[in-house]
């Protein structure tokens, strides 16, 4: 534990930038390569990195299992909710044109929330997979689910 000082310090330095890069990928997805899926994977990678260096229990303290599972569901709800919002505003399902007075603006708004939903669910699913595999030996019953 004493010998990985370099790893610990570097991890502390890198993780904020990883999360920041994730938000860049997320919000710049309209104009360049990127979007919710990629951003979600990067966010999850930052937490997984933290877990690798500081141990699984500390990662689970930062992002608890209950939160991860809730995020899996919330992301899907956000995505489907955008579709329902389109319905309620008089359009078809997932109709972004009606989400704002200006149809182009509506498209921006629609894709923003859809990608937010994707990022939430993808990052949570990635984390869940990591937790389940990494926690196999520790969790009671050995199945970690």
């Amino acid at each position: 534990m004493r010998l990985d000082v370099i790893l610990r310090v570097l991890a502390k330095l890198l993780i904020p930038f990883a999360v920041m890069f994730a938000s860049y990928v997320q919000f710049h997805g309209d104009f360049g390569p990127g979007g919710g899926f990629q951003a979600g994977v990067i966010i999850a990678a930052a937490v997984i990195f933290y877990g690798l260096i500081y141990g699984l229990p500390s990662a689970r303290e930062v992002v608890p299992d209950v939160l991860v599972e809730a995020m899996i569901a919330i992301g899907v709800l956000v995505y489907a909710g955008v579709g329902i919002a389109g319905l309620l505003l008089g359009g078809n399902y997932l109709d972004y044109f009606v989400l704002d007075h200006d149809p182009v603006h509506g498209q921006h708004r629609g894709i923003f929330w859809v990608e937010a939903g994707v990022a939430i669910t993808v990052s949570a699913v990635m984390l869940k997979i990591f937790y389940v595999f990494a926690g196999r030996r520790r969790d009671a019953g050995g199945e970690g689910s």
Partner: protein, 493 residues
């Protein structure tokens, strides 16, 4: 305002229910949401079916992008009827889950079980309603992945192996389907099914179409469990929780059969599929093999769940036999049997689930004296068995009657004989249960006489009653099957 959104709501309601259930986490509220959602899907499917029958094709543009540019949901009498069947089975199965699942699935996994049921329902309905070839694949994966998890939740450890086996076979099937779609897309530049149906005939009959047809047929046949691609099915049905067996037996293979019919008759067209090559003969041969070989295997099963599973493979043979006749009469028989067999087999699995709840297992030996200890359940099971055989007065008779009439209309008299003969095999495997349940003494140490709890018995009985009801009065189901067959054969005009 809401009525125009029925096609999408049918898929979105269970899709929304799944994450809500995950957030709820508790067993009872999860079950409540799942049950309400399945009732809602039936409430949506019924008016949708009525509209599709009276108005013809209903098109719904997702995101208001006009098809074929955007993804389109396209509903006609055929897929609306199958969607009605799926949501009807959902309404029968979900109330049953409350008690059924409590004994068969670990308590901390209950909410995941209901979430998976909802995803499976949503995926199956999505496959039916979508008018986009790739979207269909996505829904196929949603329903399949949910199914793998549901099967693995069975309390028997072999459930894991069964689920893994199905995962391998199902993935191969889905991959073959995607390869077929890729070939079609390369040729025509479209993924919209209606657009494909217009563009493909203009292509003539090149080798690539043939390859696409082959890939799609084999891929979907794996999902149908068409003999000899059925090897995943018996284990998957035998080791999954009873409610899952009932739901899958009544819906999953049926939805894939719809997809095959849609591709054969609406998209590729009869000329390409049947007139230009031997698809009809091959399908006929495989259907006959399915009607006989798995039925013989069913006779030798020592586990009633496996017996029913093999019987399912055999019954699928009747449906594909109807398809292989490639006439409106044959299609009517196929769609009618889809409906009647869903009710029969779903009901029998539910009855059996109640028996397993009491006896703790589904081995045939345990059922000794069941006619005395659980008279209602065993009587209901026998009624279901009569419907499998095709005794007049049950739903199974109606579809076999359609099938025989359709075969005779084609001049294939010997097929009528084949249907009779394979029904005799069904008599034998149903008789095995009758003999054990009614002519043997209950073994020592047998649980005391008594029926399964009402919450298990009532949904099961409701399905068996429906099975008799549609056997006595087949006018509604027959009309629907005919409308569906005409919609399939007539194409999406």
């Amino acid at each position: 305002m809401l009525s125009q959104h029925l096609p999408i709501l049918l898929v979105v309601v269970p899709l929304l229910a799944a994450p809500i259930i995950v957030l709820l986490r508790r067993s009872f509220p999860s079950w409540l949401v799942a049950t309400l959602a399945s009732i809602a899907t039936l409430a949506i499917a019924l008016p949708l079916l009525a509209r599709a029958v009276s108005e013809g094709v209903i098109s719904y543009a997702i995101g208001n992008w006009p098809p074929p540019l955007g993804i389109e949901y396209r509903v006609d009498a055929a897929n609306a009827f199958v969607a009605f069947i799926v949501s009807l089975i959902g309404v029968f199965v979900m109330p049953y889950c409350r008690r059924g699942v409590s004994s068969e699935v670990r308590a901390e996994e209950h909410y995941l079980f209901y979430a998976m049921m909802m995803l499976c329902l949503s995926g199956l309905l999505g496959i039916l309603l979508t008018g986009d070839a790739f979207n269909l694949f996505v829904f196929l994966e949603i329903s399949s992945l949910a199914t793998y998890v549901l099967i693995a939740m069975g309390r028997d450890r072999r459930a894991l192996v069964a689920s893994y086996q199905y995962l391998l076979m199902g993935t191969i099937g889905a991959t073959l389907y995607v390869i077929g779609i890729g070939l079609l897309y390369l040729q025509t530049g479209t993924l919209n099914l209606a657009d494909l149906a217009v563009r493909l005939p203009a292509m003539g009959d090149p080798r690539a179409t043939l390859a696409a047809l082959a890939f799609i047929t084999v891929g979907i046949s794996l999902k149908i469990a068409l003999f000899p691609l059925h090897l995943w099915l018996p284990n998957a049905y035998a080791y999954s929780p009873s409610a899952v067996s009932a739901f899958l037996a009544a819906t999953a293979t049926k939805v894939s059969i719809y997809v095959l019919m849609r591709y054969f008759f609406t998209i590729f067209g009869e000329t390409v599929v049947f007139d230009a090559r031997y698809t009809g003969v091959i399908l006929l041969a495989l259907s006959l093999a399915a009607m006989f070989i798995p039925a013989v295997v069913a006779i030798f099963q020592t586990d009633v769940k496996r017996l029913l599973a093999y019987s399912s493979v055999s019954q699928i043979g009747y449906i594909t036999l109807g398809i292989s006749l490639h006439s409106v009469g044959g299609l009517t028989a196929a769609v009618a049997h889809l409906f009647n067999h869903a009710l029969t087999k779903g009901g029998m699995f539910l009855v059996l689930g109640g028996v397993v709840f009491r006896l703790g297992g589904s081995a045939l030996d345990r059922m000794a004296g069941l006619g005395r200890t659980m008279p209602i359940a065993s009587f209901a099971f026998v009624i279901g068995g009569l419907s499998l055989i095709g005794i007049p007065g049950t739903a199974g008779f109606v579809s076999k009657w359609y099938l025989v009439t359709a075969a005779m209309a084609e001049g294939q008299w010997w097929l009528a004989g084949a249907v009779m003969l394979s029904s005799l095999l069904a008599v034998i495997y149903v008789w095995r249960f009758v003999e054990v349940a009614y002519f043997r003494e209950p073994p020592a140490g047998h649980p005391p006489a008594g029926e399964a709890p009402l919450s298990l018995l009532l949904p099961a009985l409701a399905m068996i009653v429906a099975c008799v009801w549609f056997g006595l009065d087949a006018s509604w189901s027959g009309n629907m099957a005919r409308a569906a067959a005409e919609a399939l054969a007539g194409g999406w005009k």
